[in-house]
């Protein structure tokens, strides 16, 4: 799901950096207020977990990759704002150190994977788990569905961002300057693999760890 350099036009990159600035600001404020010192190691584990889960990736036609993010789990355990910071750190390190995802696309990649994904996942979990006991089966199901929804929504956003590029940036003769694939092709390429494979990986990982936490460390739920 990582967008490389040169796939999004400058305006698109700028828009997503601009969108992420207030999100990062709010995230650091919320985390400053809510995160207890003893939760900091857990946040580090969450970020490292997301990083290593994203290394299990498969190339997708068109130049990006398909993978789980593990971020919905972090959002469920530490809240969506803390997850936003954790995934952002993972994505920035991937871009700077490993060239996985472009420098110019850090804003867009963070918007998709560090904002859309944890928030969609967190609120899906809250909605389905609403009124249920912390140790109930419904929480496990809610966690799985949250993982599936969060990851696929992020993939959909990525596909749409790719697919809008030929409309936004082209030469006078209509030749695409950046990502050349249209909306339909880009969305099918991005959403397809995630709906069929990676969404289920995110769902299973999220549900299994929540079930494990119910048994061994219920204070985190």
């Amino acid at each position: 799901m990582h967008i490389p350099d040169g796939y999004l036009g400058p305006a698109t990159c700028g828009v997503f950096y601009a969108a992420m600035l207030p999100i990062w600001t709010i995230a650091s404020r919320v985390v400053k207020k809510a995160l207890k010192a003893r939760q900091v190691p857990m946040l580090a584990i969450g970020a490292a977990f997301s990083f290593v889960i994203m290394m299990f990736n498969v190339p997708i036609p068109g130049g990006s990759t398909g993978h789980a993010v593990g971020g919905v789990l972090v959002a469920i355990l530490l809240g969506p704002w803390a997850a936003c910071i954790a995934i952002t750190v993972a994505l920035v390190v991937q871009a700077l150190l490993f060239g996985d995802g472009g420098i110019t696309a850090i804003g867009a990649n963070c918007f998709n994977m560090a904002f859309v994904l944890p928030f969609a996942g967190y609120y899906t979990y809250k909605a389905i788990g609403f009124g249920s006991e912390a140790l109930s089966k419904r929480r496990v199901v809610a966690a799985g569905l949250a993982g599936y929804v969060g990851l696929n929504l992020a993939a959909l956003f990525t596909g749409v961002e790719f697919g809008l590029q030929p409309l936004l940036h082209h030469t006078a003769s209509g030749q695409a300057l950046y990502c050349p694939y249209g909306l339909k092709a880009a969305v099918v390429a991005m959403a397809g693999g995630h709906i069929l494979v990676f969404g289920f990986i995110e769902a299973i990982v999220t549900a299994l760890v929540v079930q494990y936490m119910q048994k061994h460390s219920p204070e985190f739920l």
Partner: protein
């Protein structure tokens, strides 16, 4: 054992398993080749989780080893960064009180 200790062990296991992401698609012959980077505004020190000048194709023992080392390096750097950020945020919080 503390739950955080168990998670660190789990992360180590995931790092060792990380080359599966290279081996499985290669085995099923899935996917197009890795994207060709159209711009060069930044050259990552460990591009694509592999070391420059190391021999071997995707899925070879060399690339798998580089992948595991990359995973460990990434985990260590990210952990340090988040611990620093966490310390910064909680320190400022203390001053407010």
């Amino acid at each position: 054992m503390k739950i955080t200790t168990k998670f660190w062990i789990g992360l180590g296991a995931l790092a060792v398993l990380s080359p599966l992401g290279l081996l499985l698609p290669a085995y099923f012959k899935a996917g197009a080749p890795w994207y060709e980077k159209p711009s060069s505004i930044w050259s990552a020190p460990i591009p694509g989780y592999s070391f420059n000048g190391w021999p071997g194709e995707k899925g070879s023992p060399h690339s798998s080893f580089a992948y595991i080392i990359s995973a460990v390096i990434g985990i260590v750097i990210i952990t340090i960064l988040v611990l620093l950020i966490g310390k910064m945020l909680s320190k400022k919080g203390d001053q407010d009180v």
